[in-house]
Each structure stands twice: as structure tokens, then as C-alpha cells.
């Protein structure tokens, strides 16, 4: 005899409002349905009512965790549509901020995952280490969230010797933390019991579900826009594409542990190679000729795409934001089917859902 089990919209395992209706047979989930829309703010529509430069502040507030990537994807789209060149030093600063943000996002995720499994010691340990990267973002931008580093045609904040030496010192701490985490996530018996062979998705199925980012790379899909569709100065950086074939919660989580180490590698190269010069193209963006462009970046959760249509005025005619969670979360409905009820929060949580991103 089956019954319905509501999870959320306010639940200790969720950071934000989301509602999951589970259809259960005993302890087994036979069907799952996710309801979103609790934080819908119509950002796409509001963007068409403001000028291009004012939209920058708006789109940055889509998400509190990957806000830099939102502004970057938007800048890429506008710069492409307006034919605006970006100075090389600005590109390096963008990569630097993006990778710091990726470390911060992945560490937040790893802590939250530990918390969802009831492993609160690891949660506290991960999040205390995350403070180091938050401090660096604050040092660089003046803010802990919504960094406001990007502007159309460049960046607003420069990096000097003092900042780069402090970042280098913080990277030592972070590398140490990431190595300890990698040790814990491969050896701890309770972590392995909760994550191995849970929420399995094959490579073919993952492709048809369209998943992106670590969720795809944990299922053996070799796709990371930094490598497969290089933008900015990523082609000049030496780093590895992390792909694991397991297809379960553990693989998709461990991809992120390894990516923290790759990001540290990238930041060191940025600090070594950063050229001198201006950080912003002084040309203002006022009206943009009719154009239709897509700006894509690899956000911490996967591909983030901004589709911008301009019509010759100083405002976008249409701005469509496709966030990674919007395509990854429906996939977790498939992952939950056939799993245990106790694993449901872990399965929803392991794709690192960002409800604010998704509801826009």
C-alpha cells in the first residue's frame, strides 16, 4: 500500500525553499516530484526594463554563491553583442575571482553534504576552512557575496602585490584542507556507505537528461566549458579535466574535491602570469544594434548560459538565463526513483541545488 510523503518546503536538510512530494512503497521511493518557484523574482523580465549596465547589478543577485559567474556570463553576452574588447589583465582577474568562487562554492557544498549525511564534524571542519577563501574574496572585492568585480568591458577591482601574496598564503591552507578532505571522502566508512552506489545514473541517461557540470562529469561525460569551449584565458592555463565514471553520489561529490585542487593550480598560474595594463575598456555600452548571442561560462555547478537578444535600444529585448540547477534538478527526480527514503535528501542535495538560481 503506497502513500505520499511531503519533504519541505522548509526542511532542516534544505538550505532554501523547495518542495518534494515522494510516493513511497514502504521505505522505497517509487516516484518523486519536485516543486519549485518559492523564490521566483522575474529577473529575466526585470532585466528588459533596465539599461545594460544597470542589469549587471540585477543579474549578479540571481545567486548568492555563484554571483560572479552570473555577472561574467552576462558580460560575455553583452561584450559579444556590442563587440567590446576586454583587456588581458581584466581577463586574468576574472579567472582569479571565478576560481576563488569555485573553491568557495565546492567547499560549501562538501560541508553541506556532510551535514545532510549527519556527519556534522566534517561539516564544521569544511566550513571553517572555507573562511580562508571567503576572506580572500573579501580582500579582493570588499564583499563576501555579490562581489561586484565585473563590469562591462573589464573589471572594477585590481590585484596588487599585497593581495596576491595573501592569496598565495591562503592557497597553502586551502590545499592542505582539500587534501585532508580527499583523504576523508575516500576512506571514511560511513561516507562510503551513504554515497557509494546511491542515485546511480548511467552516461547515456545523463546525456538525455542534459545534466551539466560535476553532475555530468561524475557520470563519465567529458564536458567542462573551460576545456571544451574555452573562453577568457583558460586555454593558457594548465589544468586537468576531472571526470569520474562511477555515476553515483560519491563520484559526483569526489569530482568537486578534485576540482578544488585544480582551481588552486589555476589561481597559482594566474598570479604568476598576470600581465600589467589597464583593467577596463573605457568605451561605454549604451545602445546595442539588433543581435542574438549566447554567453556561456562554467559555473561551479555547471554550464551557465545567458541568451541575450538586443533590438537597437539601450535595454535587452529578451534575456534568458539557463542556470545549471534548472537542468540538473529534474534529473534528481529520476535518481530518487527506486532509492531509499533516507537517501532522498542526500540525492537531492548532491547535485548542489541552488533554488535562487533556478527560480530567478
Amino acid at each position: 500500500m503506497g502513500y505520499k510523503f511531503p519533504l519541505g518546503p522548509y526542511h532542516p536538510a534544505f538550505e532554501e525553499g523547495e518542495y518534494i512530494e515522494l510516493q513511497l512503497e514502504g521505505e522505497m521511493v517509487v516516484d518523486a516530484e519536485i516543486k519549485i518557484g518559492f523564490i521566483h523574482r522575474a529577473i529575466e523580465k526585470s532585466a528588459t526594463k533596465r539599461t545594460f549596465i544597470r542589469d549587471l547589478g540585477l543579474v549578479e543577485r540571481t545567486c548568492g554563491i555563484c554571483s560572479f559567474h552570473h555577472s561574467w556570463a552576462y558580460c560575455l553576452a553583452v561584450e559579444k553583442a556590442a563587440g567590446l574588447e576586454v583587456p588581458e589583465r581584466a581577463e586574468y582577474i576574472r579567472v582569479l575571482t571565478a576560481e576563488l568562487e569555485r573553491i568557495h562554492s565546492h567547499l560549501m557544498y562538501l560541508g553541506a553534504m556532510a551535514h545532510k549525511m549527519g556527519f556534522d564534524t566534517l561539516f564544521m571542519f569544511t566550513w571553517s576552512g572555507r573562511e580562508a577563501v571567503m576572506d580572500m574574496l573579501e580582500l579582493l572585492s570588499g564583499n563576501r557575496v555579490n562581489y561586484a568585480v565585473n563590469t562591462l568591458g573589464g573589471v572594477r577591482r585590481d590585484v596588487d602585490e599585497n593581495i596576491s601574496s595573501q592569496i598565495r598564503a591562503a592557497l597553502e591552507t586551502l590545499e592542505d584542507l582539500a587534501l585532508k578532505l580527499s583523504d576523508t571522502w575516500t576512506k571514511d566508512a560511513s561516507i562510503l556507505a551513504r554515497t557509494k552506489n546511491v542515485g546511480f545514473v548511467s552516461r547515456e541517461q545523463a546525456h538525455l537528461l542534459g545534466v551539466v557540470g560535476p553532475t555530468a562529469r561524475g557520470s563519465g561525460i567529458r564536458e567542462d566549458l573551460r576545456k571544451t569551449s574555452p573562453y577568457s584565458v583558460y586555454p593558457l592555463m594548465d589544468f586537468d579535466l576531472v571526470v569520474l565514471d562511477g555515476g553515483d553520489v560519491w563520484s559526483r561529490t569526489f569530482v568537486r574535491v578534485l576540482e578544488v585542487l585544480e582551481s588552486i593550480k589555476i589561481i597559482r598560474q594566474v598570479l604568476d602570469k598576470i600581465p600589467s595594463g589597464s583593467i577596463k575598456n573605457p568605451k561605454p555600452v549604451l545602445k546595442i544594434e539588433p543581435n542574438d548571442v549566447i554567453g556561456r561560462v562554467e559555473a561551479p555547478r555547471g554550464e551557465l548560459a545567458y541568451h541575450l537578444i538586443t533590438d537597437g535600444t539601450d535595454k535587452p529585448a529578451r534575456l534568458k538565463i539557463r542556470t545549471p540547477t534548472l537542468i540538473n534538478l529534474p534529473a534528481s527526480e529520476h535518481m530518487m526513483r527506486g532509492s531509499n527514503l533516507a537517501d532522498a535528501p542526500v540525492i537531492v542535495g548532491h547535485i548542489d541545488p541552488c533554488m535562487s538560481c533556478m527560480d530567478r
Binding site: 518557484g37 522575474a42 547515456e204 538525455l208 537528461l209 542534459g210 549566447i294 541568451h307 534568458k320
Partner: protein, 129 residues
Amino acid sequence: MLPGIEQAKLQRYGLNGEGEREIVDVDVLKLFEFITDFKDVFRFISITAYPEGDSLFMQYHFSYGSWIASLRLLVPEDKVVPSITPLLPAADWAEREIMDLFDIKFSNHPRPKRLIIPDDAKRGIYLDF
């Protein structure tokens, strides 16, 4: 030229696999043929619905490496378009969102429920103001 993709098969849809993005106009039949042909190799990104003049358009975006194909479809007067979700599960939420925001109906959608606006709100809020 895209590695591993038959050029003649692509050209049937007016695409060359060159540059970083190509936009082509399609009708419903061609859209479905394209998805059947390429769903195993191209990754579905999303669908953008947008008004242009007095008509509504939809662009179906597919990605392959650094290349994007955008298939543009004119939404008919009655605003009913067949759903691609039975073929391609990735399109599920993208179609439901368009139903909410632009009041376009996707016939044959397996679960045509509200996604991001409440059940008692009017559909098509993005067309209003």
C-alpha cells in the same frame, strides 16, 4: 565541420557546424526530425521563448563542444506546439516554464503542471507588462 558528425546529415537542416553558433528557422516536423537524429550526440541546453513584433518565437538550443545550434520556431496563432519531452526528457522543465511565463501550450507533455508560478496565478505573466 564537427568531429564525428556526418556533414550531409547536418546540412539537411541548413547547418554547417562552423563558427560558435548557428541559428536556423525550422518547422515542427523538421524540429522533431532533428531531435530524433541528433539527441544522442548533441546536448540540449534550453528553450528561449520571446515575442518579436506581433508573433512569438521559440529557439531550441543544442550544444556540441563549443558549437551551438539554435533552431527557431514560429509559434502558431493558437499557441499550441507539440512537446519534445517524450523524445528528450531534458526539455521537461524548460517547456513547463514557458507554459507558465508565455502561456504557450505543449501538447502531449507528460506532466503539464505549473512550475514556477503558483497554481492560482494567471499564465503568461511575461507577456503582460
